[in-house]
Amino acid sequence: MKHFVAVIVFLALAHLSGNAAMASQFFPYTAHTHVLPNGLKVIMIPMDSPGLVAYYSVVRTGSRDEVEPGKSGFAHFFEHMMFRGTAKYPGNVYDSIVTSLGASANAFTSDDITAYHLAFAAEDLEKVIDIESDRFRNLLYDLPGFQTEAGAIYGEYRKGVTNPFQVLDEKLRDLAFDEHTYKHTTIGFERDIQAMPEAYEYSRDFFRRFYRPDNVVILIVGDIKPDKTFKLIERYYGGWEKGYTPPLVPAEPPQSAERSTEVTYAGKTLPILDVAYKGEAFDPHNREYVAATLLDDLAFGETSDLYKKLYIQEQRVDALFTSIPANRDMPLFEIAARIKREEDVQPIRDSIYAAVERFQTAPVDAQRLAQLKKRRKYMFLMNLDTPEKVAQRLAYIIAITGGIEAVDALYAEADKVTPDDIMRAAQKYFIPERRTVVTLKGDKQ
């Protein structure tokens, strides 16, 4: 029953709503949104969470924004640098404050987002706003500190590179994309990570360009009073100077034919097959896109014929999973299988194609579609029980769209999806001209 669907976390979002009417039906919390004159947006969601608050600073910049050659991985690197401190609160002082608050703090980066998050006791809200606003406005680090952190990044790369899925993802993106920055993973190419210690000046420029109020959204969820909280936000962030400069992310030229390759993993693994299709940017009003987010579960999820055949009945794969991500630009829609015998790679690839074809030529059973909609509803209801979970689910959609309004639209659209829509999505996206296939095999068997 371990069907890993990356998109599920996102799908839960589909049921959130900034609309009061929808909120009463699906989302038990009300969002209070304000925008400061400098462009900083703050979204506050009070919820019954005695004494606990989750605080997210969402920077709408991720590895997508790494447009300069040789600078892949920099958004993530910069996420690390944000912990190096300011003149007011040097890194060790920042750390000791977070420690004294007993906060659970961390950060993450992916294609379209860099997010900094803390969970803490409500009484510490002002202190958190103080230290977070300070580092976003006044980050200061020297060259040796910068170069030391580059070592930690390389350590993170080394930690991950033993994972065959990281090796596969690196190859897949590189092959599928020609121009767009989704060509590289968030951690970046190893050669670029090696060169990071030399990019101190670039890093300062990166901060000036992207860490601006008009590119950041503050999301606060939990035991808060919106009016009082907003006053604090105004006081601490009000003087932050706007000036975000969007990067010129190159458009990806149309793909004309299927691409495929094999990649070798330095270790022992079952072969992994990844069949990826160029998808489409997140658009909650695009019926075909929304239908694709349901198609993935219907065609390849654990109740699908393919999953039952390959995983349960014939036991030829030990994992089958999909990803229909929500991205600012066109991502890859992926179907991946870990296959028990090497000679099965081609037949299983053909089985995946056949499953796609079935969904292209015949509408899905309406009852299965209804069951999926029911499932999504309960997944939503059951996974919003802490401020951190609510904030985490909203952070991505904020990074992609700048707010949470799209969530409502997405939910409304998903509810309207019909079996014919599913068929049209299969016909639009899952075609050979959009396809890149990568097979990973271990070098030790």
Binding site: M1, D48, P50, G51, L52, G91, N92, V98, T99, L101, G102, A103, S104, A105, N106, A121, A122, D124, P144, F146, Q147, T148, E149, A150, G151, A152, G155, E156, R158, K159, V161, T162, N163, P164, P197, D223, G267, K268, T269, E302, T303, K308, Y311, I312, Q315, D318, R338, K340, Q371, L372, K374, R375, R376, Y378, L381, D385, T386, E388, G442, K444
Partner: protein, 501 residues
Amino acid sequence: MKSFAGVCLLICGLLITTTIGESAVKGNNPVLLPVKNDPTYCFRIWFKVGSQNDPAGMEGLANLTAQMIVDASTQKHKYEQIIDLLYPLAASYEATVSAEMSVVYGRVHRDNLNDYYPLLLEAILSPAFLQEDLDRIKSNTLNYLQNTLRFSSDEELGKAVLYTDIFSGTPYGHIAEGTVEGLNRITLDDVKKFYAAHYTRDNVVIGLAGGFDEALVGRLRADLMRLPAGKPRSVPAPVPAALKGFKVTLVEKDAPATAISMGFPLDVVRGTTDWYALAIANSWFGEHRNSSSHLYQVIRETRGLNYGDYSYIENFPQGGMRSHPPQNVCRRKQIFEIWIRPVPREAGHFALRAALRELKHLVEHGLTKDEFDLTRNFLRKYILHFAPTTMERLGYAMDDRFYGISRGHLTTFRTMLGKLTRADVNAAIKRHLQFGNMQIAIVTGEAAAMGEELLRDAPTPITYKSPKPDNVVAEDREISVFPVKVAAENLRIVPVAEVFK
């Protein structure tokens, strides 16, 4: 201060609910955690069996049996049908198996209880035990051991080797997933016999949390009474061999970096005063995935050698995947453990020395007043993050039953943070921690060369890509010659293909 009161309420909530579970029932009676406004029901059905109960030569049997309950057919439904039935409920049930516990757990929205409950019960009371399910689960587990654990996460591999080395020759001497030979030997009949012996009504503890009512408690108790009677023989707590000096296992593999785990047996478990004293010391020294960790500051933050460095006084599986401690992995015997995330091969020996040197300093000098105060204040609030959900709180309540903590662990933790003094903490450090007798697991390339370096105990000077402050350079000189003398008979090199064999 209102919100701080709210924080206290949350903690007190733990106390009240745990007290209900404890006072109303004893021994195998239910652990109940009512949360009125929670629209879900959380189940944790604990069977007092774990990998310590695996018969010799059948390592992995407890885990396989649990998976055959939660991830396979029942007498009423085929596995595929169960998946279909659970699907619209957005619910599932799974099992976690550790050395001493097997817990079947699941969560469902109240709207779907009537569809979910019979499936959960069926799984526990009438598993089908089909050969096809065993083949699938066994194959997946073998793939985990032979490929995933050996090759794709050197950190988890290092930790698994450390535990199996320390507890070698005891019932804790293998990981829950078992060994390749053990798994290959296990038949369907073995699973059936193991289930019959251990999944009995005398060996089960019900855990229930959320918006349930008394009727559901009664129903669940009555239903589980349908399990056969039988009290399995208890397994004595393991007695690991005493460590003398440094014992090193180098796992040789074609690795791009060097992952290090080390530790020694610890005679302290949760619920005792010394555990809470050590928890303060350990939090300062190596709080998991937290920049407050002193080891993290020394190895990662100051020197940039890796991604993180932490320490533990309790088993903490899958540390790379979680931020806070897991539940339901209780043990009567723990280890003190240091986890050094992968460092460049050339810095492996240096990082090992750096960590041991810091441990020596901790043992000899304890915490300063500032360190003690900071850590105590940190933990007072930080432990709130350990159990924000009803499911996690139920997990802690089950663990309280295991350790016999009537007031609840997190409540006791908070109380002890108010009571313990720096002197208490430093005395506990002296009583329980040391730096000279250590089991060390190193996953690395060039294992032979690294073994040679360790045997020679030769200096390991280090260079960086960027200049370091004078104090760091001076400290590096001391670290590079810090003695970690390993005797030849205490060092072994194991090819990765041989581990968990």
